[in-house]
């Protein structure tokens, strides 16, 4: 018997209509843990680098994590991996909610989709019974609507459904996969699902997940719950309210949006409105939010309630989490009421809340600049909000200008030409980023933006504060109960870091320290993504309940696989390196590792070069960002080095 994990994957080939239950190699669990780690291994073995995103050979993997569905609080992530139509690199996007635990209760660690169905279908997994079912009646339906329709059709409200909306069906490059209160949004994985002709995956499971060392495991879980309670009562002072506690940023509970609205940029990531947040706005937004928010809701086995049910009068009810209430609001220079209204549509259509609003604001900028003309927007209303509502319809149907914008700002700009490229100013590796433009370069963030394989800052940052507290005393106070650090030196890095002067950005933290800090932060994300843990309880917030010191015990107690801190660190390094190798094999190089040109006003080319050099060195990459043979062999990834040599990747760069 396998513990923690199930030991079986479900393989579905939509071209052939075949369904297989396949047992997995326990040795892969030791090396790659599960979730993203084993997804990466499968992508390496089975998706050759020439594979186009929209081809039968591209895999779409829905994975649970190694500890998903066990009693570990908050361990519920579904990790979806495929080749992104937008970046052409490996995309991995996560969603919370209830889907992954349900798949595990049904008896599978992963669902691996290959091929394409000619007609729209959905998959129905009920323990051992798996069916590919006709979905023609669901065509064009919203994602939430689809889920409800399937639950009704199969007559069980406890079925968990992951579905795409119109955006996915029409292969919008930033289409999401929606699942009730959660979504896997980044990288256009919903478009791949649509390309495969797969409208939804419905799951219901009623089997056990077994634990190797039950008493120990429960003790660890209880400690985590206790710590969560303690952290609830001990918010971290001195950081913005949404960053003080645990969980995803508490956007649904908290109304104070001063930090986002005055620090992040509006429009096509252009304008900072430092005076935006006033008492009147606060009152108005509070009223808006409290009027539409029915209830705060959690993911599977988690007390944090980061999501909410939203009922805007006159619109169907939907669920929301995190920051999407503001992305449309700010892109359109509008207000929160508009944000909640358009997000309802965006959720049903299944769109990424980062990319979609930016693509729309980008289109309108081109109109203003005269690169596009009124004729490109036939029938578009004049008011701000109306224009966004008009654009969203065009994009999800790929009609007219919508067909261009549906590819995201990078590809749209190249296709439109006439200088439009200049307006694509907020992408990394062709992927839209957080709307954020700042003054002084921060060396740690420079590295994370440049090198993150997820191409999304929130999926790499987290453990180390974004800024130093004002005084040394405050910083000393902060590090006192900082048990999460992997090494005491990180406390010193933080205490010595000053807001101004010699010991401040960009030269402090030093190059070496910056690399180590990034290394720690990204490792924690890789561990979470392999275990299926919500970043909101681990790699994202300050002082989380899960960390490098208790994770090895969790893994050992759950699975029976002996694991200590160094071995876990090594496993995370292995997965991080394999993800890099996958993208290197698809052509990614040093030149791609860079932040948006205008992310910081003050840039330091020499320092930036040193930072990247040192980061590569620490990671065991050569100066092109390619993992060296030596480091690959040391990580038991010799097969990667062999292929690199065969393909001449080291020689030709």
């Amino acid at each position: 018997m396998r513990y923690g994990e199930i030991g079986f994957d479900l393989e579905v080939d939509l071209s052939r209509g075949s369904i297989d239950r396949v047992d997995t190699d326990p040795n892969d669990t030791k090396l790659y843990l599960g979730g993203l780690g084993t997804n990466a291994k499968i992508m390496w073995d089975r998706v050759p680098p020439e594979t186009e995103p929209f081809s039968e050979d591209n895999l779409l993997i829905f994975s649970t994590g190694l500890l998903c569905g066990t009693a570990a609080p908050g361990c519920n992530r579904t990790i979806v991996t495929t080749i992104s139509p937008q970046t052409k690199l490996v995309a991995y996007s996560m969603m919370g909610g209830f889907w992954a635990p349900e798949l595990k209760y049904a008896g599978y660690d992963k669902l691996i989709i290959r091929g394409k169905s000619e007609d729209l279908v959905y998959l129905w997994i009920s323990n051992d019974k798996v069916e590919i079912r006709d979905a023609s009646h669901l065509k064009g339906m919203g994602a939430t609507e689809t889920s409800e329709a399937i639950r009704k059709e199969l007559d069980d409200p406890d079925i968990q459904v992951a579905a795409i909306g119109l955006a996915g069906e029409n292969r919008v490059f930033y289409a999401s996969i929606e699942q009730g209160r959660s979504s896997a949004s980044r990288g256009g994985i919903g478009a791949v699902m649509g390309d495969k002709g797969l409208k939804a995956v419905a799951v219901r499971g009623t089997k056990d997940i077994n634990i190797a060392d039950p008493a120990k495991y429960m003790e660890l879980c209880n400690d985590v719950l206790k710590y969560i309670k303690w952290r609830e009562d001990h918010p971290i002072k001195g950081v913005p309210p949404i960053l003080q506690g645990l969980g995803s940023p508490q956007e649904m509970a908290i109304v104070d949006e001063e930090w986002h609205t005055t620090n992040f940029t509006w429009g096509n990531s252009r304008t900072r409105r430092k005076d935006f947040w006033t008492h009147e706005i606060e009152q108005k937004w509070k009223e808006t939010q409290e009027n539409v928010r029915t209830r705060l809701i959690s993911c599977h086995n988690c007390p944090m309630k980061c999501g909410a049910t939203i009922s805007v009068p006159g619109l169907p009810t939907y669920m929301m989490k995190c920051y999407s209430k503001l992305t449309y609001t700010m892109a359109a220079y509008s207000d929160l009421d508009f944000g909640f209204k358009i997000a309802q549509k965006a959720t049903e259509y299944g769109l990424d809340g980062f990319s979609a609003p930016q693509a729309m604001a980008f289109g309108l900028e081109l109109l203003e600049a005269g690169i596009l003309t009124k004729d490109d927007f036939p029938g578009m209303p004049d008011d701000n909000e109306g224009r966004f509502f008009w654009l969203i319809e065009k994009i999800v149907r790929r009609e007219g200008i919508g067909d261009y914008l549906a590819d995201g700002t990078y590809w749209a700009a190249r296709r439109i030409g006439k200088g439009a490229e200049k307006y694509d100013h907020n992408t990394i590796k062709k992927h839209e980023q957080l709307p954020l433009k700042l003054g002084m370069l921060n060396p740690v963030y420079y590295l994370m933006y440049s090198t993150g394989e997820k191409i999304n800052i929130t999926q790499i940052e987290g453990q180390f504060p974004q800024e130093p507290f004002a005084t040394r005393e405050l910083r000393e106070e902060f590090v006192k109960d900082w048990i999460q650090v992997p090494d005491e030196k990180f406390k010193k890095y933080y205490v010595d870091w000053e807001p101004r002067g010699e010991m401040s950005n960009p030269y402090y933290p030093t190059v070496e320290a910056s690399c180590e800090i990034v290394d720690w932060m990204e490792k924690m994300h890789y561990i979470d993504d392999s275990l299926g843990m919500c970043a909101g309880l681990s790699s994202f917030p300050l002082k989380p309940p899960y960390h490098i010191h208790n994770y090895p015990d969790f893994i050992t107690a759950a699975t029976g696989i002996k694991m200590d801190k160094d071995e876990l660190w090594q496993a995370a390094t292995r997965t991080r390196t394999l993800m890099r190798a996958l993208n290197v094999r698809r052509g990614m190089r040093r030149a791609d590792d860079k932040p948006p040109e205008d992310h910081w006003r003050k840039r330091f080319p020499d320092l930036e070069k040193q930072l990247l050099d040192q980061y590569y060195k620490l990671k065991g990459f050569n100066d092109q960002g390619i993992p060296t043979k030596e480091s690959l062999v040391q990580l038991e990834l010799g097969y990667v080095a062999e292929e690199f040599e065969e393909k001449g990747i080291y020689v030709n760069g």
Binding site: K207, I211, M218, R295, N301, P303, T317
Partner: protein
């Protein structure tokens, strides 16, 4: 009949506070696994959440008595504009539904308030519900002495098997299984 003092345990369910996390289902099924905590599976939990997020229905329900036949209750309740089925509120392990039956054997499940010696400070589901939707209440009450010993899990289970398959078939099966 003689009156005796007895601690009556109950749980106050504040459904307005439930966030639908199912932590109670996870911990209940884990607590009742043999060996304890060796597995978990919400389908075996003795508390279940009727969870319909789009209708804002979150209703924790505890497993109660096993019943041989479904009742006639088919009424609807509307509370605060939300429509519930009569069965939603019902604790019965009833043949009309999969709820509160072991998923493989179909044997009935019943909440035992985590009965344990020494007694737990509070039941597991209450302890794990950080939202405080489940509140444990102990009251001392005078009750009539119960002369009928309470049926244990095994007896209830066998009773259900007898209802399903008939006494003779159960006896035959037990006899067959008892053979070395």
């Amino acid at each position: 009949m003689a009156k005796v003092k007895k601690i009556v345990k109950s749980i106050t369910i504040d459904a307005d506070k439930c966030n639908g996390c199912k932590a109670c289902e996870v911990i209940c099924s884990s607590w009742h696994a043999t060996p304890r905590y060796s597995s978990n599976n919400p389908a075996r939990s003795r508390i279940r959440i009727v969870r319909l997020p789009l209708k804002d229905i979150y209703l924790p329900v505890y497993a109660g008595e096993y019943t041989e036949a479904e009742c006639t209750g088919r009424d609807k309740y509307i509370i605060d504009g939300k429509e519930y089925n009569e069965c939603d509120f019902c604790r019965a392990s009833c043949p009309s539904r999969a709820l509160f039956h072991e998923p493989d054997s179909g044997l009935p499940l019943k909440c035992d308030m985590c009965e344990e010696t020494p007694a737990l400070e509070k039941p597991k589901c209450v302890e794990w519900c950080l939202a405080e939707a489940l509140i444990y209440v102990e009251k001392e009450e005078e009750v009539e002495e119960n002369e009928q010993p309470k049926l244990g899990d095994v007896e209830i289970g066998i009773g259900a098997m007898i209802d399903k398959y008939g006494l003779q078939q159960v006896l035959d099966t037990v006899a067959r299984m008892a053979k070395p």
